[in-house]
Amino acid sequence: MYDTNRPEAAVGQQDIKISASDVQVFYGPKQAIKDLNVEILDKTVTAFIGPSGCGKSTFLRCINRMNDTVDTARVEGRIAIDGQNIYDRGVDPVQLRAKVGMVFQKPNPFPKSIYDNVSYGPKIHGLARDKAQMDEIVETALRGAALWNEVKDRLHEPGTGLSGGQQQRLCIARAVATAPEVLLMDEPCSALDPIATSQVEELIEQLRTRFSVVIVTHSMQQAARVSQKTAFFHLGSLVEYGDTNDIFTRPRDSRTEAYISGRIG
C-alpha cells in the first residue's frame, strides 16, 4: 500500500500472498502491535527489521497462529492468506501451520534421526503413501535445504549431532518437507557463524523461487542482502514498507533513517 505509485515496485506482476489489515496484538493488557496493515507478495523475500521489542517477531508468529499457544495473547483484525482470513472460526491452526512453515531463532531439531526430523511433518499430515514416497520427500526436502550432500550417508544418525549451521538447514528442510506456501523465519542466522549464515542466505534466495519467505532479522546487512521488500517496525507499528533498495537508500520516514544509520535500536 506504500508503493503502489512507484514504478520499480512492480506489484502488478506478483500476487499478494498475505494481506493484513488493522491487526492489533495484545499480551495481557499490553499492546504489542497497533493498527498494522501490510501486503506480502508471493515468491518474494520480505524482511522485517526494527529494534528489539518492536513487534516484528510478534507479527511473524501471528501469520501461522503460533501466538495461539501463548495463553495471554489476543489478536484482533484480519490476516488473510490467499484471501482466506486465517483467524476465521473455520480455520484449523494445526493445518494452517503445515501450510505456513516456520524456522526459529535457535536451531531446534528433534532429538531424533535426520530422516525422522524431516519425515515428521509429512508423516503426521499423511503426505506419503509408502516408504518409497517418504524417502523421496525427505530427499527432496534435504536437497531443497542444500543439506543432502552432507548428510545422505548418515540419515539415521541423530539430527542434534550436526553443526549449528547444518542443524538450521535441517530445520529448514523440516519446514519445507510439508510443501508450505509461506516460510516464516525468525532470526534464522542469529545463532550461526558467518559461513553458515551465508549458506542459509543462499538457500533463502533459492527458496524464494518456490514460495513467499518472511524473515525477521536484526542485521540490516542481511535484510539488504536477502530481501526484495523490507518492513521497518518501531514500537509496535509498521513505520515503513517498501522495496529493500528504497528503504536502505531513500528512507521516507525519519525513524527509518535513524534506525538504518544506527541512531536508534
Binding site: T69, P111, T160
Partner: protein, 430 residues
C-alpha cells in the same frame, strides 16, 4: 576509593595497605570457615550413617547363618506306612534317632535332648520321604536347624561361666551339644530359610518370604495405579489445563497432599477400603491402594517437573510443522520427559516400600505363616515384618530384625540405583 591520590605510586601503596590486607585476610578466614562448616556437616552425616550401618550389620550378620545338626535317621515301616507316607509318625522317628545318637542318656533326658532340634526337623524329614517313598526302611541323613537357644550357644551368645540357673541351657544341655559338635554333626551354613520361609513362631524357622512377596504385590498394585494416573494428571495439569484460580488451587493441594503424614493415608484406607468397601484385611492389594494414594502426589510433582524441563523450542518445532497439541505431548514432550518421570516414580515407590504406618492400620502386621499366593491373601510387608520382629523378645528375632532391615535397605539401594541408571542411560541432550 574516591580519596585515592592520583599518582601511580600512591595507588600501589593503597592496594598493599594494612586495611586492605586485613580485609583480604578476613575474607579468606570467612571462606575457610564456610568450607570447614560444610566439611563438618558432611563428616557428621557420614558418621551417623556409619553408626547406623555398623549397628545393623553387627546385630544382623549372625542372622544370615543358622546352626544345623546332621542326623542319621533310620525310617522304619512301623513308624511310616509306605501306603501313606504323609501320615507317618515323624516325631517318633526323630526321637528314635536322637535316642540312637545319645545311647547312654536316661529316658527322662530325651525330651530335653529333642529340644536341640528345631520343630521343623519332623517336617523336613516328612517332605523328604513324601517326595521319595523309597527311603522307607533305609537310614536317611538329614540336616536340620537347631532350635534358637542352641543356635545362640553355637554363635557364642551364651555365657557358660555364669550361674546355671540364670541360663536357659543347663550344663547337661551344653555338654550334649558339645558332644554333637565333637562328632562333627554341627554346621553353620548360610541361612537360606531367611529368604525361603515365611514368618514363624520359632526364630530359627522365621523368614522374609511372605514379607518380600507381600511388599512386591503391594508395590506392583501401587505402581499400576499411581503411574498411569499420576502421569495422566500431570500431563493434563501441565499441558492442557487453563492457568487460572482452579488450577492454582489444585496445584497447592497436590503439593499439600505430598506432605500429608502417611498414617493419615492409612486411616483413610481403613475407613474407605476396609470399612466401607469391605475389602480383605491385611491384603497386599489394599496396601497397594493405600500406598498408591500416597505415591500419587510424588509422581504428579515429579512428572510436572520433568515436563516443564523439556525446552520450549522442542514444542515450538513440533507445533511449527503442524503437529496437534496431543501429537506434541505424546510424540515429543513425553519421551523427553520419560527419564525424569521414571526417576521420580522409582523414588516414590522406594518411599512406599519403606512406609510402615499405613500398612499397620490396614492390618498388614498380622502373624501370617505362609507366603501370599495372590495380592488378595493376608500377608505382611517388609517394614511391618520388621515391626513384628522388633516386638519379639527372643534373641533370634532381635538378630533377624536387623537382618530384615538390611534386606529392606538392600532393596531401597537397588531401586535408587535403577533410578540413577535410567536417568543416565536415557537422558538425552538437545
Amino acid at each position: 576509593m574516591t580519596d585515592l591520590p592520583d599518582n601511580g605510586r600512591a595507588s600501589d601503596t593503597a592496594w598493599s595497605s594494612d586495611a586492605f590486607k586485613n580485609r583480604l585476610a578476613r575474607r579468606h578466614r570467612k571462606e575457610l570457615g564456610l568450607k570447614l562448616l560444610g566439611l563438618g556437616a558432611l563428616t557428621l552425616a557420614f558418621l551417623m550413617l556409619g553408626i547406623l550401618l555398623w549397628t545393623l550389620i553387627s546385630g544382623g550378620a549372625q542372622a544370615f547363618r543358622q546352626t544345623h545338626v546332621t542326623l542319621d535317621v533310620p525310617i522304619s515301616a512301623q513308624m511310616v506306612d509306605p501306603a501313606d507316607p504323609a501320615a507317618g509318625n515323624y516325631r517318633g522317628v526323630i526321637a528314635e534317632a536322637m535316642q540312637a545318637t545319645f545311647p547312654d542318656a536316661p529316658q527322662e533326658r530325651m525330651r530335653a535332648l529333642s529340644g536341640i532340634l528345631s520343630n521343623a526337623a519332623q517336617f523336613v524329614l516328612r517332605d523328604r520321604v513324601v517326595a521319595d517313598p523309597e527311603l522307607i526302611g533305609q537310614v536317611v541323613q538329614i540336616r536340620v536347624p537347631t532350635s534358637d537357644t542352641y543356635d545362640q550357644l553355637n554363635k557364642g551368645n551364651v555365657n557358660e561361666a555364669s550361674d546355671e540357673s540364670t541360663r536357659r541351657l543347663n550344663d547337661e544341655d551344653i555338654r550334649a551339644f558339645r558332644q554333637l559338635e565333637a562328632e562333627g554333626r554341627i554346621t553353620l551354613p548360610f541361612n537360606w530359610a531367611l529368604f525361603t520361609n515365611a514368618d514363624s513362631r520359632f526364630p530359627e524357622l522365621a523368614g522374609l518370604r511372605g514379607a518380600i512377596i507381600g511388599s512386591f504385590y503391594a508395590l506392583l498394585v501401587c505402581f499400576l495405579i499411581s503411574f498411569p494416573l499420576g502421569i495422566g494428571a500431570a500431563i493434563y495439569l501441565e499441558e492442557f489445563a487453563p492457568k487460572n484460580k482452579i488450577s492454582d488451587i489444585i496445584e497447592v493441594n497436590i503439593n499439600n497432599l505430598a506432605a500429608v503424614p502417611s498414617v493419615v493415608f492409612g486411616l483413610l484406607g481403613l475407613a474407605v477400603f476396609l470399612n466401607w468397601f469391605g475389602m480383605q484385611r491385611s491384603a497386599p492389594f489394599v496396601g497397594g491402594l493405600v500406598l498408591a494414594l500416597m505415591t500419587l502426589p510424588t509422581i504428579i510433582i515429579a512428572t510436572r517437573a520433568a515436563l516443564k524441563a523439556v525446552p520450549p523450542s522442542i514444542r515450538e518445532a513440533a507445533l511449527g510443522v503442524g503437529a496437534s497439541k496431543q501429537q506434541v505431548v505424546f510424540g515429543h514432550v513425553l519421551p523427553l520427559a520419560m527419564p525424569g518421570i521414571l526417576t521420580g516414580t522409582i523414588i516414590g515407590l522406594a518411599q512406599a516400600l519403606g512406609e510402615t504406618a499405613p500398612l499397620l492400620l490396614i492390618g498388614m502386621n498380622a502373624f501370617v505363616t505362609s507366603a501370599p499366593g495372590t495380592p488378595f491373601d493376608a500377608s505382611t510387608a517388609l517394614p511391618t515384618q520388621i515391626f513384628i520382629w522388633a516386638d519379639s523378645p527372643e534373641r533370634g528375632f532381635v538378630a533377624r530384625t536387623s537382618a530384615a532391615i538390611l534386606v529392606l535397605l538392600g532393596f531401597l539401594v537397588l531401586m535408587n540405583a535403577i533410578a540413577i541408571f535410567l536417568r543416565n542411560r536415557f537422558e538425552r541432550r538437545w
